[in-house]
Amino acid sequence: MSAGRVTPAGSFPATFMVTDMNKTRTSGRTIGGLRTLSLQAPAVTLLFLWMIVPLAMTVWFSLQRYNLLMPGMTGFAGLENYEYLFTDPALWSAMGTTLLMVGWVLVITVVGGTLLAVLFQQDFMGRGIARVLAISPFFVMPTVSALVWKNMMMHPANGVLSWVAESLGLPAVDWFSSLPLTSVIIIVAWQWLPFALLILLTAMQSLDEDQVEAARMDGAGPIAIFFFITLPHLKRAISVVIMIEMIFLLTIFAEIFVTTSGGPGLATTNLAYLIYIRALLDFDVGMASAGGVVAIILANIVAIFLVRMVAKNLES
């Protein structure tokens, strides 16, 4: 980017000059501080309210006996809801499932996305259209993609996958009963792979071709080039992918709701789904709130460890 190309300064009305100069010069720091405050204020205040009002209500409800279906039975419950939650065997299994889901989807999308990005960076016929097709799943609503996968791809009788398996003489796989977690991971990964591809492809475009060419001249094979030039170059983009995906993957809900309803057993119940069961099947607001508070704490732990690690990467 060259600074020389942009000189719109001349278009400023001259009258602003003096007053503004004075302000910034005389008390730059306070004004700066004030400016920071006033500019950030709307976003921070709104987010603060968005976070704090429901959060305060959630914390409050989590200390109450409050079931929507039991209007009479209300009152202060102390830590009863938490006690109940933490003795729930489903909680630990749900946390494990959450981590497994996030972990696998991240691995699949990052590895797959990187390989696809390298491929789609190469020159071939109709590359533009192929790219657009490969990116498409990201635009599809999670509910729709879950419905399509459930009814048209993975259906044990009418699904395309079972037809393919049968045509190849293999037994049809009953996806949602025998491989429930894998099935959900496949669906979610299918949605997020294009996102990773999009971001990584973008990053690939700023890869220095001269450097690659030089390495090739020095006798580096494609694999060496990938590991020593491409991958380091993509480091920052991969961090971005991991960070954004993680935010969304921790709260996956629609895909589970549509396909397996958290089962069979607890096989696909993640934390978000467990809270859903408490909140909207039991209508136990107290308990759901306690679950919400736990989820917030978990989210912040993840934020502190992982996001910070990633954020460090972003700095370089």
Binding site: L69, A157, S261, G263, L281, D282
Partner: protein, 436 residues
């Protein structure tokens, strides 16, 4: 906003004027076929009630239920008419969330509504919701396959016989499965069937002290039987099949037998939707130790939430949609097999219906024979055949349903599934204050 209100077309001015004065009511309903027909008759209603306009919110059952419960429990007031079931009505009525429906007009003929259905929708002797359609459960089978195998269907089949027939008729290579049953987890899905099986095997959900009985021998026997039957002679992926999936399977000719809702009869008997219409046989739901509670009773009903501010208009709508005239209207427009079944004696006395729906007698017997207040061999403290009429049941039923689905897929053993179900239910009941 309706476009017609915005478009400045002179010719529409007159229409626009009446529209502007009309009272709009929001009707929330399930996306089942009978409700879709009701929605398609909106014009007929608006013509006979020019001062009322209908706004529809059609959702799938699970989403609808959670949506409505959230709204009514918080007094959100988003809906004027709610489609709810026999399970919700007494619970919601007890909390005064519904508008009692007394003093119904003479020509509505309340007494024409089947008594067992009416009782299920009443609280303290007052009707709280009007039945739109009602169902029990029964067995469907393929006459052609039974004849081929030389099996005659007795008047009252037993589960043991069903297993024997299923083993004979099962031919997985030809995509011909001995029996289709619900396996999809949910209190209104697999647990509806499993509860009736538990009942007829002599079990119950709770004893008189509300102590869960899921680890009892009767449950063990019933659930083992169910898992064994369905995993040996059922279709692949049975654990994700609910009513709809089985309906599709049976109507394509993939199942020799199917035990499910009586409301499927009209669809299976309609040659446009089903390839087995001419080979369809009916029988009562199978029994084991006791006939008590072997078939369920459910109705979808229209209710007016107490939070509605258009109660009169809503009342006009629900009396219209559950009236005798509505039944005839559907019969004439959509064909008599499509009329909402199970609500009115007059429907079953109607010669048109009798002629086009040979299953009518079975259905009527099944509905009238189900007694929600006495459906278990040993006494139980609750009402409901395939459910327990307490608010906690939704989550209990769904949790237990998940465990049983896990047993069906072989992820856990039946014993393990029932033990963890028992523990989970005990926890819920303790928390709700039934147990110490």
């Amino acid at each position: 906003m309706k476009l017609s209100r915005v478009l400045p077309i002179a010719g529409l001015a007159a229409v626009g004027a009446t529209v502007a004065n009309a009272e709009t009511i929001t009707v929330a309903t399930v996306n089942n076929n009978d409700m879709v027909v009701m929605q398609s008759l909106t014009d007929a209603f608006e013509q006979s009630h020019p001062d009322i306009q209908l706004d529809w919110v059609v959702l799938e059952e699970n989403v609808l239920r959670q949506r409505l419960t959230t709204d009514i429990a918080t007094g959100g007031g988003q809906f004027d008419v709610m489609t709810i079931g026999t399970y919700e009505v007494p619970i919601w009525a007890e909390r005064s969330w519904l508008t009692p429906l007394d003093n119904l007009p003479e020509d509505y003929q309340v007494d024409d509504l089947l008594k067992s259905v009416r009782d299920g929708l009443s609280h303290d002797g007052t009707l709280q919701a009007l039945p739109f359609y009602a169902e029990s459960s029964m067995m469907y089978y393929r006459k052609d396959l039974f004849d081929e195998a030389g099996i005659t269907m007795p008047d009252q089949p037993t589960w043991e016989e069903v297993r024997e027939w299923a083993s004979k008729l099962h031919n997985a290579d030809q995509e011909q499965y001995g029996i289709c049953l619900r396996g999809k987890p949910g209190w209104g899905e697999n647990m509806a069937l499993v509860s009736t099986m538990v009942n007829t095997f002599g079990g119950r959900w709770f004893d008189m002290d509300w102590q869960p009985q899921i680890d009892s021998p009767a449950w063990q026997e019933a659930v083992s039987f169910y898992v064994d039957l369905l995993s040996n002679y059922g279709p692949p992926g049975a654990s994700s099949n609910g009513f709809n999936e089985n309906l599709a399977l049976f109507s394509r000719g993939n199942c020799a037998m199917w035990v499910d809702a009586t409301s499927a009869a009209g669809k299976l008997f309609d040659a446009d939707q089903s390839s087995v219409a001419d080979k369809l046989g009916f029988a009562p739901a199978p029994i084991a130790k006791t006939p008590k509670g072997s078939h369920w009773l459910w109705s979808w009903a229209l209710a007016i939430p107490a939070s509605s501010d258009s109660k009169d208009a809503a009342r006009q709508f629900i009396t219209w949609a559950t009236s005798k005239d509505y039944v005839s209207l559907v019969g004439e427009r959509e064909g008599w097999t499509s009329v909402p079944p199970g609500t009115r004696t007059s429907t079953y006395e109607n010669p048109n219906y009798q002629e086009s729906a040979p299953f009518a007698g079975f259905v009527l017997d099944a509905i009238q024979g189900a007694d929600p207040t006495d459906s278990t061999l040993e006494p139980s403290p609750y009402t409901g055949v395939q459910f327990v009429g307490i608010p906690e049941f939704q989550s209990i039923g769904t949790q237990v349903g998940q465990m049983i689905a896990a047993a069906l897929t072989g992820e856990t053993s039946v014993e393990q599934a029932l033990q963890s179900s028992q523990r989970a239910t005990e926890r819920t009941m303790q928390r709700a204050g039934y147990l110490d």
